[in-house]
């Protein structure tokens, strides 16, 4: 056993390795991405798993093309008895929900843990959906870790419960668990589990209405049994005494403890397994309790379960939480927000020792922006220039290029979910055929969920311009490889899937590949496409500067007339006003040269990187 200081996501990955995971698959998404990355670092690079472990002890790791694919890959392996791990962020579960809902009915042979990272805040997401509700909806058990240390052990328990009940189980950390660091004591020489292999049995593995009916009833009878089992699970804990109890889960438990420390005059009940709800445990906690405060994030899940329990058992207990105004309806909890809730609940006041802030100066707002030198800025600018004076719609998508919405570019009119830009551009086209409809999609998103949208456009005769912003990586989530990059997570170099050939194969007639940093050619490409009917594609190809780290630098000469056109047109964070002069921050500039092409007096020059 060794001690290591790791991120929560790494603790989850190492816990899965200790549990003997055989197949792990996922799709990148903040805050879940580092789980698969840690597996690459430990299992592939350090332990050399996958170099031929012999029969029935395989280890396979992959970034799947999307979450649905990841879950299905894992399901196949789990049918064979292998232990499988699937990772995604909460909105990824929406993509994977089709196989998951059915898999809940069919069940698994090898342990299967689906890690779904929730993102209260939301800090890097489109929604504040609660995976505990998804657990209830899909009738799958769910584990809710409260710290990285606990996550390491709990995911091993999750594999055991999965096999005990032959069902996939959900494991849902939140951002503050995923991105917290702590020391864990870890198994240093884990081994992939041995498994039996797939045994054909169509009565078990082929879902038909009859099987669905039978298994549905089995699940509804089984889940209360799991609830009883969970009542003695070591993660469900109660401390303290009294007529007042706090029910909490996940990171909120850490915030509660930060306030209550080890005091004994209030009950603190921590629920680690929200579904199936550990009723016996909760009923025991509620003995002698008159008032309950539920401290949780996202949905009022514990609150609803306790309300139900109190109703069924006619308990004279008042339950407070989000639904009674004793908790935030949206956004993440904070340690201080939780302290305030508890103070009110316990009728306590505590003097805070912070500086008074009423008179603080106005702070600059810092919305996230495209990096200095990001090729996406150039792509958006080229389309904007080409569309000047014409009616056009710009449908964005999920990735770094969502940041093209910021002023002054202002080039994202819509953003909904992965891949939606391509299909939404078609919808807008059908409402306004005179306008040009553009869809912007990244290379990773194109493979994840863009393809079907392009097929749809061709088949249904839409007029649209597809702009693939190809920076050869999955940038926003931390630069993961994808089918277009030629490297996979087993450390193998593989054939790059060529986006142009894919589009040709689908039947896109006009496909232009252009370097967006060559402004003139890029604008020309857009103009050409706008004159043609049907589906056109422009591949704006230039690598992510956070990966290639170009070392060029631009300079502003005395010719500058301080007209600020460069700032107003492209909003590059490396161009700033300093002592009344337009200045280039050399620490940020990468020498993309886009600004040089915009300056009306040719005052910007220097060492461009291409």
């Amino acid at each position: 056993m060794g001690k290591e200081y790791v991120m929560g996501n790494a603790a989850i990955a190492l816990g899965a390795l200790a549990a003997g995971v055989n197949v792990a698959a996922g799709y990148p998404g903040t805050p879940s991405s580092e789980i698969i990355e840690t597996l690459e670092k430990y299992a592939i690079e350090k332990l050399h798993y996958g170099d031929g472990d012999g029969d029935n002890k395989c280890f396979h790791l992959e970034w799947s093309v999307n979450e649905k694919a990841a879950l299905e890959v894992a399901a196949g392996a789990a049918y064979a008895g292998a232990r499988t791990l699937v990772t995604m962020k909460q909105v990824g579960l929406n993509v994977a929900s089709d196989p998951l809902m059915s898999l809940a009915y069919v069940g698994v042979k090898g342990g299967m843990v689906v890690v779904v990272a929730d993102d209260p805040g939301p800090i890097s997401s489109q929604t504040e959906q609660d995976t505990r509700i998804f657990a209830y909806y899909s009738r799958l058990p769910v584990f809710d870790p409260a710290s990285p240390e606990e996550a390491y052990c709990m995911i091993q328990d999750a594999f055991d419960y999965s096999e005990k009940y032959s069902t996939p189980v959900l494991f849902r950390p939140t951002t503050r668990i995923c991105h917290a660091y702590a020391s864990i004591t870890m198994e240093e020489k884990p081994k992939p589990k041995e498994y039996e292999g797939f045994v054909k049995d169509s009565g078990r593995w082929v879902i038909f209405p009859r099987l669905a009916l039978m298994n549905h009833e089995m699940i509804e009878k089984r889940n209360p049994v799991i609830g009883v089992d969970f009542s003695s699970y070591s993660g469900n804990t109660v401390t303290g005494q009294g007529k007042k109890a706090i029910f909490t889960s996940g990171i909120s438990y850490a915030y509660v403890r930060e306030y209550t420390k080890n005091r004994e005059d209030v009950k603190v009940c921590r629920i680690a397994t929200p579904y199936p709800f550990p009723e016996d445990f909760a009923l025991k906690c509620l003995q002698g309790v008159e008032e309950v405060l539920c401290v949780e994030e996202l949905s009022p899940f514990l609150e609803s379960e306790l309300q139900r329990l109190a109703g069924v058992h006619h308990l004279g207990v008042t339950i407070l939480g989000k639904m009674t105004g004793n908790g935030k309806l949206a956004g993440e909890n904070t340690v201080d927000g939780v302290a305030a809730l508890i103070q009110e609940f316990l009728g306590e006041t505590k003097q805070k020792e912070t500086a008074a802030l009423e008179d603080r100066p106005k702070l600059p707002v810092r919305p996230p922006v495209l990096c200095a030198g990001c090729p996406h800025r150039a792509s958006f600018y080229a389309v904007k220039k080409a569309c000047a004076g014409r009616r056009a719609y710009f449908c964005g998508d999920i990735g770094c290029y969502t940041l093209g919405n910021a002023m002054p570019l202002d080039m994202v009119d819509t953003c909904l979910c992965m891949g939606a830009g391509i299909t939404m551009a078609q919808g807008l086209h059908w409402t306004d055929k005179e306008a040009a409809s553009f869809a912007f999609v990244g290379d990773s998103t194109f493979f994840a969920s863009g393809l079907t949208g392009v097929v749809n456009a061709i088949y249904n005769e839409a007029n649209m311009i597809l702009c693939v912003l190809d920076n050869s990586t999955t940038a926003m989530t931390g630069h993961q490889p994808h089918p277009g990059t030629g490297r996979n997570m087993m450390g193998h170099m593989v054939e790059k899937i060529n986006i142009v050939k894919v589009l040709e194969g689908i039947g896109v007639q006009t496909i232009i590949t252009v370097n967006p940093l060559d402004l003139e050619k890029a604008v020309q490409a857009v103009q050409t496409c706008m004159e043609l009917p049907g589906v056109k594609a422009i591949i704006f190809k230039s690598p992510c500067i956070a990966v290639t780290k170009p070392s060029g630098k631009m300079q502003i000469s005395d010719k500058c007339i301080s007209c600020k056109k460069c700032i107003r047109e492209i909003g590059c964070p490396a161009i700033i006003m300093r002592d009344g002069r337009v200045t280039i921050d050399e620490g940020l500039c990468t020498g993309c040269g886009l600004c040089a092409g915009i300056c009306p007096v040719e005052a910007i020059g220097g060492d461009a990187h291409e």
Binding site: Y5, M7, T30, P31, I123, S124, S147, T175, R176, H179, A180, Y181, A182, S183, I251, A254, Y255, R257, E258, K261, T334, V335, D336, A339, K352, E353, T354, A355, L357, D359, R360, P361, L363, P364, V365, R366, P367, P368, V369, L370, C371, C400, L403, A406, M407, P408, M476, G478, I567, R568, G571, C572, P573, I575, I576, M577, G587, L588
Partner: protein, 199 residues
Amino acid sequence: MNKNILLCGVGGQGTVLASKLIAAAAMSLGETVHSAETIGMAQRGGSVTSHVRIGEEAYSPLIPEGSADVILAFEPAEAVRNLMLLKKNGAMIVNRVPVKPVTESLQDTGYDGSEMIAYLQQKCSKLVVVDAEEICKELGSSRYFNVAILGVAVGCGQTGLTAEAVLKEIETKVPEKFRQMNQRAFLLGKQIGDTYAAQ
């Protein structure tokens, strides 16, 4: 030892490496450490924080208000933004050089950080103002400021860490290519911290 150390700045300034070095150095001294990072969209030029909690008395990975023993602020407005986390009589070490968001350049509100520094001077009893550009001039790049400001904090005696412990972690955690520069940056910062400690 119980110490809460907050690092704050703008995405891209390198708060994560500095917090990793603090955590590793504290652990090498036998301490229990918890920390938390901002990862995700905010790393693209947004406000970021790293919370490092040293000692057994930390439950939450995030530092509660009024509990930070020291704040290492990589940017003046970010120092003010996170001031409520600072303990009464806690130490604030702040970089004078502002990072101007694009929105400011567009509207040119004249934000240059000086108003923030003036405010901090009123509010903080222990304030150390450093200039990243000045410190980093001889290093040739402001990207080493993250380790330099850590040197200032250690020199001031505000972290509970020894310079040797941090230097040892730079040795093991920083890729060889950048190691020497980071060591120099740390020692440059430490010199500044030492002079403050002497006052």
